[in-house]
């Protein structure tokens, strides 16, 4: 059962990674225009800035 010493921190870290990724996404307005982003991928290149 000693393997739990590695496995539990590993699973917690992975979960925390997911949580941080979600927090980053919310903070950076990644969910502002879901429909637009879905369509945008069909465009060849982004228009010139």
């Amino acid at each position: 059962m000693n393997v739990l010493v590695y496995l539990i921190p590993a699973s917690l870290l992975l979960g925390a990674g997911g949580l941080l990724a979600f927090i980053w996404a919310v903070r950076h307005d990644q969910f502002e225009d879901l429909q637009g982003d879905a369509e945008r991928i069909l465009n060849d290149a982004d228009p010139p800035e």
């Binding site: 059962m1 739990l4 539990i8 699973s11 917690l12 979960g15 925390a16 997911g18 949580l19 979600f22 927090i23 919310v26 903070r27 502002e32 225009d33 879901l34 429909q35 637009g36 369509e39 945008r40 991928i41 069909l42 465009n43 228009p47 010139p48 800035e49």
Partner: protein, 703 residues
């Protein structure tokens, strides 16, 4: 970038109702990038708008022109009115709390599963301590919305749903920590977290619905950028309405709305005051006439000198009256709050009774506390917290797709209770645009009438032209056509004088209102003017009556016009020549007699009645004051959305009640087990999730 000089930028938002695909995004963004002065353009497809970063002071017209050349309809939006709704900070904060609660819940569940399926002594204790280390900080952060609302309620000596929630979370955490510290078997960390998680989801749904409704309403207002043309010594300048002062000269183009109260300077004008009076026929004005903010100029440009501006205008003063009238809405208690006033004390008494009961029964304070915590957790209103917001979210989403904007959070619940519908006539049941009947004319007369009417921008002329062109009539060769403002049009056909216009103008003195045509010395012919019913008005009204609702037609227009319309709509009760005050009185009298009134109207004269009624609707074409006062805005012109909305509201109420019944059913089943002291953490987790998920699935049926 060659010019690296930092110059101030301007953020411009345009509404693009026509965009729908990747091609549109590319076209709009590339097209705008080529307009001089534009730094960047970014389309938001979900909101159907584009935000443009541009050099300060860039004119909007070339942008809108460029988009129109590309084939996209574009409207400027008022950035100030939008700013409020744009960043949804509260929503994002709630989302982060949900994420933290969800993360902690899943990890604690991982440990709990091991314990439930028989992890040994030491493993169990280690897992419990790990759970505590995750659950306590996570719940402290994530459940803050409940804690702060509970404290607010307790301070003023009231109980709301948040009090039992907070007590359950805090007690569950505290009791579990104590149990773990003393090596006990029962820990409710997962229960505390799943409570927090499910309830936060309910809160988020509720918040999003309110936010979406509010920003949609703001969007309607933002579409009307309040600018107007001021005549200065240097010539016409475009200025913001807010900057106008008393004495300024303002010019309003045909079709424009007059922004201030004032005295007319230009010699002739034709205005539509139906928003204020409900009168369906246009009003002819001359120099020196008093114009009211909200009037629409129908003929050519109209010039006026401002006498009242800003908040002093008649329009604003009447709008202020509306706020006073908001009674029924504030007196209404949402069904969830009514449930909370019964539920919260009941839960606390039950938990206390279980505690006292077990204490006197076997004197073990720890066991008694454990039972009380289990009761609190099992009765905690998880499903209740989801029951209303889930149904309301699904129902408002469905209504939105049908072109109905629900603006007020209790609007659906109030709409479900209505038993009487009061409809305004002009602009609500009718389109506000008149039509002219041409059946009485001979083909020759038709040709002359068309020739004369073509030269005029008067709404009756335009309606006549439309009607005649539909019949395939071609204009007669009438010469020397001249319009006499406010009276009619004249010309000559083969030496014969022909006239089209008011009764006095064609020599039909003392005759009926309406449009008249005279060829030479022949007797004048009357062209009856009718109001155009909105599409499916008749069907909508029969649907409303079929649902058992009483329908009344209320109008500021004349008796004759209203009676005719009421008959056309299938014989409904009507009242004509009603002033705005009488409209409120009418609604209030009905309500005092026990009726619950749905008021539908679009004008300033309806606004106070809209606010006083149990529930209210207005078309999107309504004056902003009316739209603000209304609970629901109809985006289309189809009146059948009124019965559809009532039907949906009733369905939503039925589903909410079912959800309450489901939640209560679970409690009836689980509470005796908890009180008997047989509840385990596993049982609590199962009861909580199944009831929440059943309620959510049931809410989906509102689709």
């Amino acid at each position: 970038m060659l010019d690296a000089m930092p110059t101030p930028t301007d953020s411009i938002t345009l509404s693009l109702p026509g965009i729908h695909c990747a091609g549109c995004i590319a076209k709009v963004e590339r097209g705008l990038a080529q307009v001089k002065g534009v730094r960047a353009a970014r389309v938001n497809l979900g909101r159907r708008r584009v935000t443009i970063e541009a050099e300060a002071g860039l004119a909007r017209e070339p942008l809108i022109g460029a988009l129109e050349d590309l084939g996209f309809e574009a409207h400027e939006m008022d950035s100030a009115a939008l700013a409020v709704g744009q960043s949804d900070r509260i929503g994002k904060a709630l989302l982060l709390r949900i994420a933290v609660a969800g993360f902690a819940l899943m990890n604690v569940m991982m440990f709990s599963f091991a314990v439930w399926f028989g992890a040994g002594e030491i493993t169990r204790d280690v897992f419990h301590w790990l759970s505590a280390a995750i659950a306590i900080p996570a719940a402290t952060y994530a459940a803050q919305p409940f804690f702060s609302k509970a404290v607010q309620a307790l301070r003023v000596g009231r109980l709301n749903m948040d009090v039992p929630i907070s007590v359950a979370i805090v007690l569950a955490l505290g009791m579990s920590t104590y149990e773990v510290a003393s090596g006990g078997a029962a820990a409710y960390f997962d229960a505390a977290l799943s409570l927090t998680f499910f309830l936060l989801c309910g809160r988020y749904l509720e918040h999003r619905m309110r936010h979406e409704a509010r920003s949609a309403a703001q969007e309607l207002n933002a579409l009307e950028v309040p600018t107007t043309t001021q005549m200065t010594r240097e010539g016409p300048v475009s200025v913001a309405v807010a900057d106008l002062r008393v004495g300024d000269i303002v010019q309003v183009a045909a079709g424009g709305r007059i922004p201030v109260d004032g005295i007319q300077i230009s010699p002739h004008g034709l205005i539509d005051r139906s928003f204020i009076t409900g009168e369906s026929l246009p009003l002819s004005t001359a120099e020196g006439a008093e114009l009211i903010a909200g009037d629409v100029s129908l003929s050519g440009p109209i010039t006026l000198r401002a006498t009242q501006v800003g908040d002093d205008t008649t329009l604003r003063r009447l709008a202020a009256l509306v706020e006073v009238a908001e009674g029924a809405r504030n007196r209404f208690t949402a069904i969830a709050d009514r449930a909370a006033t019964v539920y919260a004390p009941a839960v606390h008494i039950l938990a206390l009774a279980a505690f006292v009961g077990w204490l006197t029964l076997d004197g073990d304070i720890r066991h008694a506390l454990n039972v009380a915590v289990a009761v609190l957790i099992i009765t905690c209103p998880c499903a209740l917290g989801l029951a209303v917001p889930a149904v309301a979210t699904v129902a408002t989403g469905r209504l939105f797709r049908a072109g109905l904007l629900v603006k007020h959070e209790t609007a659906l619940e109030r709409l479900a209770t209505v038993d009487t519908v009061v409809l305004d006539k002009t602009g609500t049941v009718t389109t506000g645009q008149p039509s002219v009947a041409t059946d009485a004319l001979t083909p020759a007369q038709c040709e002359v009438a068309l020739a004369l009417a073509q030269g005029s921008a008067h709404p009756l002329s335009r309606a006549l032209v439309a009607a005649l062109k539909d019949r395939g009539i071609r204009p007669a060769p009438v010469l020397g056509i001249a319009e006499r403002a406010g009276r009619g049009i004249e010309g000559s056909l083969a030496g014969l004088e022909v006239r089209l216009g008011a009764p006095g103008f064609v020599g039909a003195n003392g005759a009926d209102e309406g449009l008249w045509l005279r060829l030479g010395e022949a007797a004048p012919v009357r062209l009856p003017v009718q109001e155009t019913l909105r599409p499916s008005a008749v069907n909508a009204l029969s649907a409303l009556k079929g649902m058992g609702l009483n329908v009344h037609l209320l109008s500021g227009d004349t008796d004759a016009a209203t009676r005719k319309m009421a008959a056309e709509l299938g014989g409904i009760a009507w009242a004509a020549s009603v002033s705005p005050e009488q409209k409120i009185a009418f609604v209030e009298t009905l309500q005092n007699d026990g009726a619950r009134v749905l008021m539908v109207g679009d004008g300033l004269n309806d606004a106070a009645a809209l606010a006083a009624a149990t529930a209210s609707m207005s078309p999107a074409s309504a004056l902003d004051v009316a739209r603000t006062a209304a609970d629901v805005v109809m985006l289309g012109s189809d009146l059948e959305s009124i019965p559809a909305a009532v039907r949906m509201a009733r369905k939503a109420r039925r589903l909410v009640k079912q959800n309450f019944a489901i939640a209560a059913g679970y409690n009836l089943l689980a509470v005796p087990i908890a009180i008997a002291g047989l509840a385990t953490p596993l049982l609590a987790a199962i009861a909580m999730s199944t009831s929440s998920i059943t309620v959510l699935v049931n809410a989906m049926r509102a689709r």
